[in-house]
Symmetry: C2
Subunit: 419 residues, 2 copies
């Protein structure tokens, strides 16, 4: 059974440009879709009061889901953890206050894996309810895919935005590090934790993030012949499924046919090293960030997260410092790659969503870029033999979020034509 939203439900962000559209009507459409889909998809941990009318502002009428890793003053916030089942924050997270100030309607908190790590949530993939939506931003990606919200907020420490976006067939945008504020989120690994946005298309995600932040991130028209696309080749490509390899080749071919310049990029040694050191930084910081929970409530933590904390506690400060130094070197190297390309293309994940709910998948294709602080966009376009989405990831230069989104948008149109 598919609850993937039909096109008519997806486009409510751009509907707002039509002056005769009432924000309350747009908001009501999202609530109607919640009535249709939520019981099956289970994207939310809790919903707000349906009787609230739309607020004022550039995001008036836009229904938004916020990952339950962010504090909300009016909705309980559990961080996906049994420890926080009764937790009611006093104030919002910074990004939640930003949403409200722009007139968005936060219609609910979306599910997160435990502390945004790997323990699966109750959420189902709207494309096929027998499949995982991915994680950790499971509910945010699924709520957008099902058309229950126009946009959603998530976070990524490894691949927690790009992966669920890919699995659910929506656009996911992990901006450059610190473009969106993270204060008021429950941190896992603070030098990696990055807030981001989901919407149905790359264009929608760009518009939504622009309106939210007052940043100019709107799509600009590009001439494909001006754009150099780096086709990134590294060892982990061997972990991709046949369907993904085929989609990745199709993506490259479609881009070339459309006039984009393709550049083959072999993974530099510095980036291979950084990829391997992501978990050193993540686990060391997680052991500190969740050390308090580990000390007080060990029985309320999953084995998987205790394993990561124990791993982090065994890492010496010298090993952590060395990993930070390697990451810094790799960032410098990454920077220089963009002398030859405008965007780097990789698979968003090794394949389509896993069947069943034992795992949310892996962050293999994402964690390097999170560590680099690079803007990453999941481009939804392709599907595998089971009609499950396959995502292609565009990775831009740090700080070039607008350009990255613009190229990703052009590529989305190109891929869709070829798909």
């Amino acid at each position: 059974m598919s609850l993937f939203a039909p096109q008519s439900v997806r486009s409510n962000l751009f509907d707002r440009d039509q002056s005769n559209v009432d924000p309350d009507d747009i908001l009501q459409r999202s609530w109607n879709r919640v009535d249709e889909a939520e019981q099956k998809v289970q994207a939310f941990t809790c919903l707000s009061n349906k009787t609230h009318s739309a607020a004022q502002g550039p995001l008036a009428g836009i229904a938004v889901g916020v990952k339950d890793i962010f504090d909300t003053h009016d909705l309980p916030t559990a961080y996906g953890s049994e420890i926080y089942q009764d937790n009611q924050p006093k104030v919002d997270a910074a990004i939640v206050a930003m949403l409200r100030s722009k007139g968005a309607s936060i219609i609910g908190k979306t599910t997160t894996t435990e502390f945004a790590f790997f323990k699966p949530t109750k959420t189902k993939n709207p494309n096929n309810l027998d499949y995982s939506p991915g994680g950790s931003s499971a509910g945010s990606a699924a709520a957008v895919a099902a058309g229950m919200v126009t946009a959603a907020i998530g976070t990524q420490t490894g691949g927690s935005m790009v992966r669920p976006a890919a699995f659910c067939g929506v656009a996911g945008f992990k901006p450059s590090y610190r473009i969106l504020p993270t204060t008021g989120m429950k941190y896992f690994a603070q030098s990696l934790d990055t807030a981001g946005t989901f919407a149905k298309s790359v264009a929608d995600v760009a518009t939504f993030t622009s309106l939210l932040t007052d940043r100019d991130l709107e799509i600009e028209e590009l001439n494909p012949s001006d754009i150099r696309i780096g086709i990134y080749k590294n060892d982990i490509l061997s972990e991709a499924s046949d369907d993904m390899i085929a989609a990745f080749k199709q993506a490259a071919k479609a881009a070339e046919t459309a006039g984009f310049k393709l550049v083959n990029l072999d993974e530099p040694a510095e980036l291979k090293t950084a990829h391997e050191l992501h978990s050193t930084i993540q686990c060391f910081e997680a052991a500190q960030a969740l050390g308090p929970e580990f000390a007080r409530y060990p029985d309320l933590l999953s084995d998987k997260i205790k394993e990561a904390i124990n791993e982090g506690m065994a890492i010496t400060p010298a090993e952590y410092d060395n990993a930070r130094r390697s990451a810094k070197n790799a960032r410098r190297k990454t920077h220089s790659l963009y002398d030859d390309v405008d965007v780097i293309l990789t698979p968003s994940a090794p394949g389509a969503a896993p069947k069943g709910f034992a795992t949310t998948g892996v962050a293999t294709f994402n964690k390097l870029w999170t560590l680099m602080g690079s803007p990453c966009v999941n481009i939804p376009a392709f599907r595998d033999g089971n009609n499950m989405p396959l995502g292609i990831q565009a990775v831009g230069k740090f700080g070039r979020d607008k350009q990255t989104l613009s190229i990703a948008h052009a590529l989305q149109a190109t891929f869709e034509k070829s798909a």
Copy 2:
């Protein structure tokens, strides 16, 4: 009236090396000193239960004060704000859990200015109760100066550790960015907020921080003739008092006499620019971090903090991004300064503590280095005509915290001989 602790009270950290010392006795000494001094100094927002005996671990018996900007599961946490007067966190901040795991006794929460910004606390300077202890880590510096705790935890976003350490005549150590975890603190400007430590001497602060973090930060013996000291010259020196200028000259002369090599450093243009852009980054991030409080509880915020938030809200994302880029350039330039010097010396503040309690002083001499992420140490040694402490700041290369502490320790001995 001076409640500055006599030498006999100061040295309890190193007493522990004597195998016949009982941790409970050391802890009791701190409590005795609390009985003598706290009513006058008012360094604490709340105290823990005096009947707790010392825990196990490398910091057993060590009384520690924790700035009330960090969450504690067993003591109320108000962040210096009226908004949080009834706030009782569920778990500790990461650094608090670290303290406990090492056996330290957290005997109380120390006062902080409102959200670690500028609104003065009730705390008095132990050297003379008519003077400000500085801020924002007012209570932490004063509690150490009065000998009520062996060590204390603070934070610095501009000059909130080095300044109060200087005013109170104790050692303050703001490590390289992200050496100490900040999760579970109330953020003001997250890319600047840095946790640090206070103790009576540079040697004590190094020992304490080593034992706390399992990092090798212990003082190593140095040959002065191997050490190059940069005497930093910039426009803001004109803001220093005559007493401070004299102390700074005396410091340079004492170092030279002791055999250190002096190198004159004129402030590079990149660093002058970064100094000026600190407040752009600070206010932009503060407007996001405290946006939720500003939206919900404007009447419970001071005018000063509302002014900073309003200023931050008027800064465009493009201005913020430009400031970040300038800071990055300046960090690269700062890095290169250490080709010629091992440590940079500047005044810790424009002069001694202000008389009265209208202001906690200014961060003029500190904020550049916080933005650079550099390790900074206040070296207590000199006093002005009113017998109030004057601090000299040692600024090391990013990541060279051990070397910075070792040089600062050698300089402290040198300055004390000359004072």
